[in-house]
Symmetry: C2
Subunit: 410 residues, 2 copies
């Protein structure tokens, strides 16, 4: 597997475009991703009970397991907008279907931005027509730009991986994401669109996506707020012409994991994890990325809870912002978790430096610790010494700038 | 029931003192509360698995259901300090018992301050001897001062209530508190000591305290960080000479709630609620108190979860700081809760002003809403319209100042 430059248009048979349609003041606010043939589609959506209209619509449509286009806007989440919001979302997909001459049920949609405002659908109509004519192989970057809200950088990634079985060459995966605020596990807020030219069964695609999301987007937190619009959609159009990737295959009468699936899965995980990490790093007011590794847990869910509790503790996050080697706050956070945790067995490390041994502070050199905590990326490792489950979680610091950004109303 | 001036020395038979013993630079850091006779005692402690040494010791001692003195220090939490911490805590209680000529098992202890540092027990010895001789009826205020860390104001409350049955006159309750852990940087600790001259059975005292804490200290949040040292202790020395308060009494062969208990319970709840509220308001970096009322819940636990989720959402808290009428963030928070919540039934009010009706934003006047949100105390009411359970929760805004304060390491 190799990382390559580019985003959603890297896999064969994909086109994209982005433009300004009038929701935001000036910046691009409408994106379209298109596959030249109907693609196998899989998606995961927010688990928040308050689901935006486009999320509700896409959840229904994705049941077909086929999709060909995704129309997305930024600047307005189309959430808490009732029936009108739902009709607006349908109108967006209908217009794209008409314009591109494809079936309406193959057009998915997603929105991000302010909650509770109706979409300026009249103003958007012209933009929707226009964007369908603007589709190109070069348009991936524009599309990634058009879904940004408070993001500072355009977030794209692409990889190429070999699908070894039956030697049918390479499969590519491209992805783009928007993040910045309201980022929390259980589908960190965001819109994320992934394309691949792999030939893959719907089941295998579902499984690969679920695994990848659980290890990436469900393992990050910026502010612990779970959005109404979180959407991850992957389109697989089969243009690579590889031997079809299935979850299982028969080998000497036994059911074994398809090795092509393993390769594809690994590449998809890489794409999701990379997008998740750059999303945290580009979070609102974020200066530092922190990787929290929890190991030695008796149950995987305990490891995840501990990691999340540490990542979401305001006291830990502010300590990181101030480069304070205040490990007491980490102990406070992990002790508050329901689960099998024995504080007197816990070791804590900052970048490999032991700061807590069996629940008691060590005489670690404070100057050295401060130096570690001043870095842009910090590793905190918590060893529960109570089992062999392990997890990784990405969090960030909490700065005055985060507060300043979010005090504004928009 | 009437609120009166003063604190823990208001009820008959209590003495207190506070002084500087050398943990902090200059400010008072040692407090002692004493009852002239052994008192019925009840306590509630942090549910964090990481428990400070004084918490572990007091939990053991409180099993006697009798107590006579509480020795508390600020500036050092004596948490994550292993065996040595436990021995230090024991030494504090032993010295007080010797000095006052009372049984060691009747002396409880509590600490608050930095985690992971051993207590400077040698330096404290002189102070502990001194404070025992300084006990006086006027010492309540000094004691309340000596448990402060970054609190800005001394927090005391006292009430007088009639215990009507058998007409035996008045019972007094006094209390003092030190900043809720979640607010105080680094010193994740809340200490609260309550005294009363009521004559009450241990069971009735336990039940009254549990009810009062559930409706006060368990219903506040600044950032959700759960401390290693949280301690609430109530001493009831029976000096009022009232008819003994029991939970239940027999009435025509039926078991009914003792009406004296109801009065006592109400007074204790008032004391705890008042202390809880002033604690939130005095929090680090806090400008605004927000009262979140969740009603119409199908289950009480759902109401509590929703209230907590809203109070702890960083986006809601920053919106409050900026006086932004951004109700979408409230919908996001409540939708993320596990429980029986139907977003399309939800109404949200800011100080009685309807902003969300059946899950959809109303056309409420933004200028008016901003005016409401600029106040020092804001009422947010969420009606789930799905049952008849209701709860109240106190939260606060999140300001740049909170981040600034908590970035520091000390």
């Amino acid at each position: 597997m190799r990382e390559i430059k580019g985003g959603v248009c890297i896999p064969s048979g994909f086109r994209a475009a982005g433009l300004h349609c009038g929701i935001k003041e000036k910046r691009p606010d409408l994106a379209l991703v298109y596959s030249v043939v109907p693609a196998v589609v899989s998606g995961m959506f927010t688990t928040n009970k308050v689901k935006a209209a486009p999320v509700q619509l896409s959840i229904r449509k994705i049941r077909n397991h086929l999709g060909q286009a995704i129309i997305a806007n930024s600047g307005n989440a189309n959430a808490c907008t009732g029936n009108r919001g739902f009709e607006d979302a349908r109108k967006m997909t209908r217009m794209v279907a008409e314009e591109l001459g494809i079936e309406e049920k193959y057009v998915l949609t997603a929105s991000t931005g302010i909650i509770g405002q109706p979409l300026p659908i009249k103003a958007m109509e012209k933009g929707i027509r226009q964007i369908c004519r603007k589709l190109s192989v070069e348009g991936g970057h524009q599309a990634a730009e058009a879904i940004m809200t408070t993001d500072k950088i355009v977030k794209e990634v692409a990889v190429e991986t070999d699908i070894p079985r039956r030697g049918r060459g390479k499969v590519k995966i491209g992805g783009m994401i928007k993040g910045a605020g309201m980022i929390s596990p259980n589908l960190a807020t965001m819109l994320c669109f992934i394309t691949t030219d792999a030939c893959v069964t719907p089941d295998a695609l579902d499984e690969a996506l679920r695994e990848a999301v659980n290890e990436s987007f469900n393992q990050i937190s910026i502010d612990g707020d779970m959005s109404t619009n979180d959407t991850v959609i992957v389109l697989a159009n089969g243009k690579a012409g590889n031997a079809k990737i299935r979850t299982w295959r028969k080998k000497k009468k036994l059911r074994v994991k398809d090795e092509n699936f393993i390769h594809f899965n690994e590449a998809l995980k890489f794409v999701c994890t990379t997008l998740a990490k750059i999303t945290v790093k580009d979070g609102e007011g974020v200066n530092k990325l922190v990787r929290i590794t929890v190991k030695g847990a008796c149950f995987l869910k305990d490891a995840r809870r501990v990691a999340r509790a540490i990542a979401q503790s305001l006291l830990v996050k502010t300590a990181l912002a101030g480069a304070s080697p205040n490990w007491g706050r980490i102990m406070v956070a992990l002790g508050s978790v329901h689960g099998r945790i024995n504080p007197s067995k816990v070791n804590v490390y900052f970048d490999g430096e032991l700061v807590v041994k069996e629940g008691i502070g060590t005489e670690a050199d404070e100057t050295k610790l401060r130096k570690i905590l001043k870095k842009d990326e910090i590793n905190i490792t918590v060893d529960l010494n109570d089992g062999h489950y392990q997890t990784e979680f990405w969090g960030c610091d909490l700065t005055e700038r985060y507060v300043k950004i979010n005090k504004r109303y928009f």
